[in-house]
Amino acid sequence: MSNTAMMEFPGVTAPQGLPRLLGPGGADLPEHLRTHGPLPHQGALIEEIEAAGLTGRGGAGFPTAVKLAAVARQPGSKVAVGNGAESEPASHKDKQLLWLAPHLVLDGLQLAAAAVGARRACLYLHRHDQLRRRLTDALAERAAAGWDRVAVELVTAPPRFLAGEESALASRIGGGLARPRFKRPPVYERGAGGAPTLVQNVETLAHLALIARHGAPWFRQVGTAAEPGSVIVTAHRADGVTVVREVPAGLPLGGLLGRAPAQAVLVGGYHGTWIPVQQAARLPLANAALRPLGAAVGAGVLAALPPDRCGLAETARVLRYLAAESAGQCGPCLNGLPRIATAFAVLARPGADRRCLDDLERWAGLVTGRGACHHPDGTVRLVRSALAAFSAETGRHLRGRCAADPAAAPFLPVPGSGYAAPSARRDWR
């Protein structure tokens, strides 16, 4: 099962404890080589990844070995893509990882490409000049040293929330617009340019690069048995400080969010779930505990809402953004999300009519599962969890009151002034 024919490189030991990905020693290629050793050329990578139990760190949490095997099985030439787009406004971990350890990510991309038989590799990034320069330099170093078997192409993602969605990514890499498509056939069968495409989040690739060097048992030394390994989390603490930290899976949420008082925690970003703080503080960062509550670890985005904010108003701001970011391809999403956003905006003002709640419930039911991607589903998850977590506040709003501080600034990072909703095809390229 576990292939222990690893190349031993003198002076390189496996990281003990944490950090693993975000530690020092990754800045340039020579330092990366000293810290982690050379790129291993391993035959049975997929088996090793399966033994390690690595799951995707991009949000869906899909078992990585299964994805690799599915793509490897396809006929013809494949494409391997590292997804560093991080389209979630509240998430910063991928940018941080790419900045601190670009070579780990690129190692992972090479290893994944070799494992599935890809002759084309891409790294998908949002527009960010510094980060792009960092990656370009890293790729140049690797090219000079002859490290990469497959040349890596940097592809820019448009600044859209859905740009990082698997089929939107495949479409963009294939030269088209970054809009999701109906998943028949699935992306692993027909993706970028019609070729079977492997899409992996950059953090997943970085873990993969370390598992290939140090093995599955090492990977399992942190985390839980069911959810092994470390996870990079973006935590927006209630005191206003945002922290990107690599933590073991299964760590209690309370430990991640600091000590400032909070009323509720948003778990999983803008397609995630609001959980009241008393419940949230004791929950571990693990799907086993979160799924029964309708939540998931997702891409590790956590936000603790301070008590002086209005949870409904914050959610309304996010919903307005999510509605504007619909790709506009599917009738239910195109029609439903703006209406949901408006109804929630009405609810977010004191003196709202009960009718908004009925409308919200009806529209939530109408859009779920009826889009080509999970944008409507994620939006509805946010809506329903907000209504549950902030039910007391909802009652107050219906009676014409609001317990929040009207002077408090908006808390959740949502693109504000200067944000223009996409309205032309070029906005999706």
Binding site: F182, R184, Q329, G331, L366, R370
Partner: protein
């Protein structure tokens, strides 16, 4: 091995023929888009379902066999 009727929501523009041709499985939402029930298509309905698939002006419907 069951047959299911699916719609590609990106292709569908809400013509609504399908709801007329297969009312047993398809209703239209308040915006004119089809809500397709999740039940499999029984052999009795298969001919009607196939007609809905062929007649859809946007070619947005498909029958798929899973199981």
């Amino acid at each position: 091995m069951d047959t299911y009727l699916r719609v590609d929501p990106t292709a569908c523009s809400g013509h609504g023929l399908c709801a007329e041709l297969l009312p047993e499985r398809i209703t239209l939402d308040e915006w004119g888009y089809p809500i397709i029930s999740a039940e499999p298509i029984s052999p009795a309905l298969r001919a009607h379902a196939r007609r809905a698939v062929t007649d859809c002006p946007a070619l947005a419907l498909l029958l798929e066999r899973t199981g």
